[in-house]
């Protein structure tokens, strides 16, 4: 079905080497192949080779041959390939072209110029198969990430290609949505489709994938059956730079001292006459690293935004050791490392970025503080670089450095490790641990059990805007979180 023969590819204007070197694969029809590897290893580039983007969209040098369904990719237009290869990408919010679910699902068919009745038939078929009747007629902006990905899958599914390629489709999804996505892939598998999935989070594909190909530095490192792969021990997976959540064993437990506590009472937020946040009473020991877990729409981001003072309409009081802290003070003392790190980098050099907003120090003091912080965040050598030229992980560290420079005490993270491989996830957890040593209180909204395991010592579980469970790592809590992440 898909054959690549000695494919080489180098992106234009890149300082790195070749993205793919000598990649030769042969994938039979109906196989479900999991592509794994560290960031930059070439798995995404391989997907782009298969769906024609390398040949027709990106600028670069291509060598070798790629055949899909008997067609030579380089000789076929992208719009012709649309009927053979359906692509689902990583970011739910930038994949939809129209504003409503119904029109989005038929978008591809409309482009192809199919007849009205034909399109309706395809629409009915795909909506029924994926069970997304309840999503019809809705504005795409109001859907959760998981729901958007389902609509994206339906949209490419309506074109009925023989091959589906998915590029890290679960990065921004919660556990429930990942399982719904898996159901969709199983439907495709049952219909005999050939499926390629590039992923960091591997567990959810355990019983779905037939074959696993691992990339490293643009070459294929190994190519094995799924059964063999998922029997590898955790250490071996980590050696390959892959994520391998097994049981849930939090490593970082808090030294019990009588620290001060942050107490939150009656925090509420209503939007459009609906109460989207209702926290009656919560006490967090100061200086903890708190994991905020829950499904999409549970109110995690809302809670973080209210707590750090960003939501002007929020009610409720926050006290630290009995002293009330107003929202204005909370903004001054909090920082949020956002999911979309592009929103929070403003200047053209890392040093300027980190020192932004610091107004009460002399030039000398600034220099000193700057070097110290850059050193701690391990970005000293990027001092003069433009923040946007850095990798995702480095950008995150610049953002954190900025928070340190402003003497922020409470730091929030919104999904800091979505889409990161094992090594980078460890880097993030190292930064978090460092900040913890400095006495900062940290809140981490995350779907990543490995991150929680590495560095969190407290947790909050939210459902529908309320906090159902919270506490430190006792036996019951560990068991609860383990089942929540479906690791048992």
């Amino acid at each position: 079905m898909i054959t690549t023969h000695n494919v080489n590819y180098t992106y234009e204007n890149t300082i790195e080497g070749a993205a793919l070197t000598g990649v030769t694969t042969d994938i039979a029809e109906g196989q479900v192949v999991l592509l794994c590897g560290e960031s930059g290893s070439g798995k995404t580039t391989y997907i782009k080779a298969i769906n024609g983007l390398l040949s027709h969209y990106y600028e670069g040098n291509m060598g070798g041959e790629i055949m899909v369904s008997g067609k030579d990719i380089s000789k076929v237009h992208l719009y012709e390939l649309a009927r053979d290869v359906g692509s689902v990408f990583q970011n739910p919010k930038s994949q939809f072209y129209t504003l409503m679910t119904d029109t989005e699902i038929v978008f591809g068919c409309e482009n192809m110029g199919f007849k009205h009745d034909d399109i309706l038939k395809r629409f009915d078929k795909v909506v029924k198969a994926f069970k997304i009747e309840d999503l019809l007629g809705k504005n795409l902006y109001n859907l959760s990430g998981g729901e958007k990905q389902k609509v994206a899958c339906a949209s490419v599914g309506a074109l009925m290609p023989k091959v589906f390629v998915l590029d890290e489709p679960s990065s921004n999804l919660d556990i429930k949505s990942i399982h719904e996505l898996r159901d969709i892939i199983e439907i495709w598998k049952k219909n005999g489709k050939t499926i390629l999935i590039a992923e960091h989070r591997l567990n959810w594909l355990k019983d779905v994938a037939d074959r696993v190909i691992c990339f490293e530095d643009g070459k294929i490192k190994f190519d094995t059956t799924a059964k063999e792969f998922f029997d590898y021990p955790v250490e071996k997976m980590h050696e390959f730079g892959l994520r391998a959540p097994e049981k849930f064993e939090p490593k970082y437990s808090r030294v019990q001292d009588d620290a001060e506590s942050i107490s939150i009472s009656k925090m509420k937020l209503t939007k459009n006459k609906e109460t989207i946040l209702d926290v009656d009473n919560l006490e967090i020991p100061k200086g903890s690293v708190v994991a905020i877990v829950g499904n999409c729409g549970a109110g995690k981001s809302t809670f973080a935004r209210c707590l750090c003072g960003l939501e002007k309409k929020a009610e409720g009081t926050v006290k630290v050791s009995g002293r009330k802290i107003t929202p204005k003070e909370r903004i001054k003392k909090s920082y949020m490392v956002m999911q979309d790190v592009n929103h929070q980098l403003f200047t053209s050099s890392v040093e300027e970025e980190v020192m932004l907003g610091v107004t009460d120090l002399s030039e000398e003091e600034k220099e000193q503080k700057l070097s110290k912080i850059l050193e701690e965040m391990d970005i000293s050598k990027y001092k003069e670089a433009h923040p946007m030229s850095l990798s995702g992980g480095q950008k995150q560290r610049v953002a954190i450095a900025g928070a340190l420079a402003c003497n922020k005490d409470v730091i929030f993270y919104d999904e800091p490790t979505s889409g990161l491989d094992y090594r980078h996830m460890k880097e993030v957890s190292e930064s978090i641990k460092k900040l913890n040593d400095m006495g900062k209180t940290q809140f981490i909204i995350t779907h990543d059990p490995e991150l929680v395991q590495e560095c969190c010592n407290y947790f909050i579980y939210m459902v529908d805007g309320k906090i159902e469970l919270s506490g430190s790592w006792n036996k019951e809590n560990i068991r609860f979180v383990q089942s929540f992440f479906k690791l048992d």
């Binding site: 969209y57 719009y79 692509s87 930038s94 504003l99 199919f114 007629g137 932004l356 402003c406």
Partner: protein, 244 residues
């Protein structure tokens, strides 16, 4: 199953009219407002034109907007007359005059509001495609509409980040612009790139004629509205030519 794709008739949500009719109404109202003065036959027509938006507001059941519109118009109509005698000439020049010209603009803008509020993007694009407007216009227009809410969303994300960093206040206007616009453009171009590959791998560039699933079509009420508009436009042309 139930989906808007199966709709064959315009509903109250669309003001019971085809998008092309609504566009014609927009053009008619704005032409009359702009080009005609209060002489001749138009002395009667102009007040009618200003009431038309109120009718539509009633159809879409939006009483608050109707009140808002009414108040705005009355203010623009009466206030200049009342205050013109009391203010110095310089202020009259620039302020009162502008207020009076509002009476010309408000009906047109409200018609546009209707067009936007009662027509979904897909219906609009369907209308454009029916009018044989080529892809070079329909694709940018649909992308444009799709990006309006995105721009608002991204902008809010950036201003939130700015609040947490305590930057961007009005003290330094250059910085203020830079800190807002640069991350916004970076964000939008990144989303734009992702959107491009998603749309292209679903056949956006196909050279064939595009189908459209949105049901639009003329009905009785459209023909009536079109007839009335055409009559008014003819009268306007005659009025300009022969001054009736």
């Amino acid at each position: 199953m139930d989906t808007i794709l199966r709709n064959t008739k315009a509903s109250s949500r669309q003001l019971y009219l085809d998008p092309r009719t609504k566009i014609l109404l927009c053009i008619t109202v704005s032409t009359v407002m702009l080009a005609m003065d209060n002489t001749g036959i138009f002395v009667y027509i102009i007040p009618v034109m200003t009431i038309v938006p109120l009718i539509f507001l009633a159809i879409i059941k939006s009483p608050m907007t109707a009140v808002y519109y009414g108040i705005l118009y009355l203010v623009a109509f009466f206030v200049p007359k009342m205050i013109v005698a009391y203010l110095p000439q310089a202020v009259n020049l620039l302020f009162t005059g502008v207020l009076a010209t509002m009476t010309r603009l408000i009906p047109g803008m409200s018609m546009f509001y209707f067009l936007i509020a009662t027509t979904s993007v897909s219906e609009f694009i369907a209308a454009m495609e029916r009018m044989h407007i080529p892809k070079v216009m329909t694709v940018p227009v649909s992308v444009m509409f799709r990006f309006f809410p995105t721009i608002v969303e991204e902008y809010h994300g950036i201003t939130d980040a700015m609040r947490l960093r305590n930057v961007g206040s009005f003290r330094n206007p250059v910085d203020m612009l830079e800190y807002r616009l640069v991350p916004l453009m970076i964000s939008l171009t990144a989303i734009g790139n992702d959107l491009s590959i998603s749309a292209l791998t679903r056949g956006l560039d196909a050279p064939n004629k595009r189908s459209n699933m949105c049901a639009i079509g003329f009905n009785v009420q459209d023909y009536i509205a079109i007839a009335v508009s055409v009559v008014i436009l003819i009268l306007a042309a005659l009025s300009m030519a022969f001054g009736i």
